[in-house]
Amino acid sequence: MPRIEQAPSQDGNNPQLRNLRPSPRYSALSLLRARFASGPYWRALWTGRALQPAYDVVIVGAGGHGLATAFHLARDHRVGSVAVLEKSLLGYGNVGRNTTIVRSNYLLPENHYFYEDSLRRWERLSKDLNYNVMYSPRGVVDLALSEDELPGLSRRGNAMRLAGIDAELLDVSGLERFCPELAPRRQRRFNIIGALLQRRGGTVRHDAVAWGYARAASALGVHIIEDCEVASVRVEAGFAKGVETSRGYVKAERIAFATAGHTAAIGTMLGIPMPIETHLLQAMVTEPVKPLLNTVVVYVSPGHGEAYISQSDRGGLVMGGHLDGFPSYTREGRWDRLEDVASGAVEVLPQIAGLRVLRQWAGTNDMTMDGSPIIDRLKYDNVFVNAGWCYGGFKAIPASGAAFAQFLATGTAPDLIRGYRLSRFNTGHMLDEPGHGPFPVRL
């Protein structure tokens, strides 16, 4: 297996850039200043710029990945002109619809080094962006419900540890100490016998991520244009020249698609079928209550029995589960999947059964044929795609932005994302963590 180097971290402590920082800077002191200011004190986070006729890089999709990429292009690579084109609203896609979990507890080295790079960036992202993204390292607990799950969890945890990533295998006593609200000794349909714990995993406020990157990128001169849908790519002599948008034609040296959830449509646009099925994933939140769950619990029981639960800082319990199970772009979900998630959640934390669900929502996910992402060129030398995040794209945002930006700026994919090339399906280098093969909806 190829060695995976960790990407060097870019500090961005460049004196020339300091003048471009968004002003006013966010801090407790500035809150006080704003309180006593006579007029409006804060500025718009991403100023409404006019769409220019040409850019060095056009990024399609103002979700977490697109915005993070734009930020890194501007900050780390000093790319002259960057535009992020968004067909509807900034951050209204999957970055605003996920269950906010961040972690790097993956089995395969191509994945765990990448997600660990991301987790290390999460740890300092608020300071990097000067925006509180509310990273809460409260732990992620993967429950084991039978003895024969332990070798698999151990295999994953040991792989993590060898890669320098924190992982622990807890028995029932350890789990009781770490998460007493779980009451692991309680009799359940599937008794809890242990868990794989990553302490540094946890949650992040999702909206803050989109807004934080947008603000920082905008301050560095990135143009973020909403209500601007890309309809096609103009090609001349085998080279992509620009994009046709709902606001006119935009010339671009390089075009990058960061539209996970609609990547199949991009494939259609370029005439390339993708190894992607687009599936719907629901989530829901309960009414806010005082703190009751202090970690993230992941529970997978046989037969569509997935439920992952955490408590947001506002107090509602955020839950999700299995895909709806068939391709859908509707962003509405099937009711019986809510029932599956609820029954799993109540099994794990019976004390929450009387709490009430306030609302559900859904996102569309690029489900790839091995469950791992795709970051690669697409058909043309200057067209790039960042896609295939399945239901795990949120935690990847910081690493994806940095690596994709480096790819766009230098033309060479950094080692950290080499494994995510599209050709891996042809050559047999699939990154299939669960071993389910080319079937996103597991049989």
Partner: protein, 80 residues
């Protein structure tokens, strides 16, 4: 979408069925046939199994942007 119409059983609740995969495009190399999928916002051609019913395998043509069902037939019934 809460029901599917099985050619043998008539309209049945969705949870009696399981989706396996969307169809691959015709032609192509063996690798492409296994991995590539035809995924249009307007038309999805899908292989479903009436697993908790008569166990027939179905090809269901749907609009995944509205969940409207255009056509249901037996898998292998027509030339694939």
């Amino acid at each position: 979408m809460t029901q599917l119409v099985c050619p043998f059983c008539g309209p049945r609740e969705l949870h009696e069925f399981e989706f396996r995969k969307t169809a691959a495009s015709a032609g192509g190399t063996p690798v492409e046939r296994v991995y590539l999928r035809v995924d249009h916002p307007d038309l999805s051609i899908e292989h479903w199994h009436h697993v908790r019913g008569c166990r027939a395998w179905l090809v269901i043509e749907r609009n995944p942007s509205t969940d409207a069902i255009c056509r249901v037939r037996l898998l292998g019934g027509d030339a694939e």
